[in-house]
Symmetry: C2
Subunit: 457 residues, 2 copies
Amino acid sequence: MEMGSGGDERSGLLARGWLLLKALPEKFKAKMVNFVVVTKKLGQDDPRRVIHSLKVGLALSLVSLFYYFETLFNSFGVHAMWAIMTVVVVFEFSVGATLGKGLNRAMATLVAGALGVGAHYMASISGNVGEPIILGIFVFFQAAVSTFIRFFPKIKARYDYGLLIFILTFALVSISGFREDEILEFAQKRLATVVIGACACVIVSIFVCPVWAGQDLHNLISLNMEKLGTFLEGFGNRYFGSTEDEEFKDNESFVHGYKSVLNSKTIEETLANFARWEPGHGRFMYRHPWKQYLKVGTLTRQCAYRIEALNGFLSSDIQVQPEFARKIQDTCTKMSLDSGKALKELALAVKTMTRPSSADSHVANLKTSTKNLRCLLKCGLGNDTDLLKVIPVTTVASLLIDVAMSVEEITASVNELASLAHFKQKAKDTNLTLEKRHGVLKSLSKQGQCSRCCYNS
Amino acid sequence: MEMGSGGDERSGLLARGWLLLKALPEKFKAKMVNFVVVTKKLGQDDPRRVIHSLKVGLALSLVSLFYYFETLFNSFGVHAMWAIMTVVVVFEFSVGATLGKGLNRAMATLVAGALGVGAHYMASISGNVGEPIILGIFVFFQAAVSTFIRFFPKIKARYDYGLLIFILTFALVSISGFREDEILEFAQKRLATVVIGACACVIVSIFVCPVWAGQDLHNLISLNMEKLGTFLEGFGNRYFGSTEDEEFKDNESFVHGYKSVLNSKTIEETLANFARWEPGHGRFMYRHPWKQYLKVGTLTRQCAYRIEALNGFLSSDIQVQPEFARKIQDTCTKMSLDSGKALKELALAVKTMTRPSSADSHVANLKTSTKNLRCLLKCGLGNDTDLLKVIPVTTVASLLIDVAMSVEEITASVNELASLAHFKQKAKDTNLTLEKRHGVLKSLSKQGQCSRCCYNS
């Protein structure tokens, strides 16, 4: 083509252009199909997303009624737009986040409005020349100081948004007062419309299919333990190669679910911060011990780090001395299984808010197994051992002992949670059947997945 | 006291009240002192926080000039407040975040304003009764659809704020148009003031002591490798007990610095998102390979998980067979030291943007050591070995081998980064002296600490 005449080149370009053009609708179609698939998956993974979107529309429609009805509009004038703005900005996925933002916004508007009016009066008594200078100094300093205060970690966690609105309202009220004489009216109407907008958000958020951050944190903590449990239940059989277990192979992706636990710190802390704003709901009282959930979460993550180390041995292809492996295989498999069962039991106990009944017995089993394993290791080596082929197995054994200790700590921590949050004693006859447990945990796993994505910011 | 008469009780209460009252000023004083200490520490840890606060004040003062000058005010009227609002909401700690938010806000205002005007015209041709209904439907659906789109992970990462402003502007323009006839003017002025506010933010953010998210990400990645390096350099000597090294003991808190690496995923991703908005600056071009930084970060975190497992053995009090430990002690210590040195070398290379020169030789050393260690383990066990006392040491050895592999991966990844980002070849005579290296890394460590807190949200 390069060697061809100008005409050839042009027709070549045209042909290529034509091909591209012809491919365009197909590319567009492929993109659209992909878009539809992703959209459908987002909605199916967590239907609460669809409901949340409709709720935002509903709240916005509610406050836009201000504009439609003459009488309401006449009393608020253009200030009605603050209500709309409040709804758009304050409405969040969970009740806790919405409530926190709404309260922050309303309180900050109140305080900053009052201070702004004060600043305006102080400036106005200092004459025509002094007024803008004094106002400028006020605005500059309050913005600088408030911005700095936002860096305090504790304040950032709970009142960040309030400080932002404080800066905004103070500046608007004090400066706009420079123009309008009805500064008090301005501040009042801004407060009233903000409160109305915030109330609309909170009411819709609480009374239309509420999403509780506390409930999500509760589910997430339980789900994380469940994920580690699933891994551990399968690990023993898998590592010692005694399994070509079909069920286990199918669950490949589920087994690797524990990886998400490694990075769950941020989302747990965010949810706990939101949950503290929430009123009592369902089985959760106001002042539910959310901090204890974070402790359980931290210990679970600690356990996940150890499992991450264990997981490395599943894929390693270092040869293992079979005689030695066989010696400790049973004990290791039992330990791994017991750890997994204990974690699943704890997950279920948290989920159903009953006291963990059999976790303690699993932990007792673990202690016995640890002793046995230590004993086996102490006396189990023949003279002709190739240490290099023994090391992977001993490392796995040693990591399993660490995991067992971790599980013990988690059990203690969940027990503490159970007494702090007054979990019910499980009646013997209400013991869940295996199928029911499976059902509960399955639905739990679905919810947990979703909340993770909805809060990721 | 309980047995006493009414008079006794009352005087007792009074006395207690008096004590409480007397303690009040002291408590208040203590709280104030604490507040001052925390404030001072926040400012000293990262002076950029103080500068940022002043910058916000400056930008706000700049746009509030609108209100002070008659001519400007007359042309924009009350719309000038959008400029103030934009500054307060858009101004963020780093240039990238500010630029991203500003562009999002301006673009969303433009598009939503145009669509809002269109929706208003469509509604206005449908008569007095139909108008509010059609507008209501429009507002409801665009709010619901836009809110749902905010759940798409890729869109959430970059355009979340834009969609929020889209919902807001569309609602304000289309509904307020229902009242005012000058809807086009409303949309235009809103756009103009928003653009002015956003420009004020971006200009102040870039030209007054700019904070680049890209630079912070760069420092953080380097610092994280440095932290792991510090731990590893000290680990060998410490574990095998050959050290009562004073320097090492003093650095206790520094040694445990690696813990923060475990949870650095969120902050790294946030910084990378911001960095993509930033124009070329300093040694970073536009389209600097920020994604590769995330890859290096992920591998570093992987290495940190292994170090977390290693760290468990530092505090464990299981007895170790000394003869066996002595046998592999030298090789293990050397491996740990080499891993540490390699990581520190990589950290320095990233920091100074030069190609890592000696990291490869450290990795070669590591490979030899790994072979040696394997050999020692293979043939190094006597007949009378108590395996239980050998296990901790072998586990440490095996973990060190894993760490060495991790370091190899990190080295490859940093080399890739070096070629993607065109790091300079280090001239031989410009080799930094040891003191200079120490200085560079010290300042780096300080910066990294700070950026972590400033972005934590």
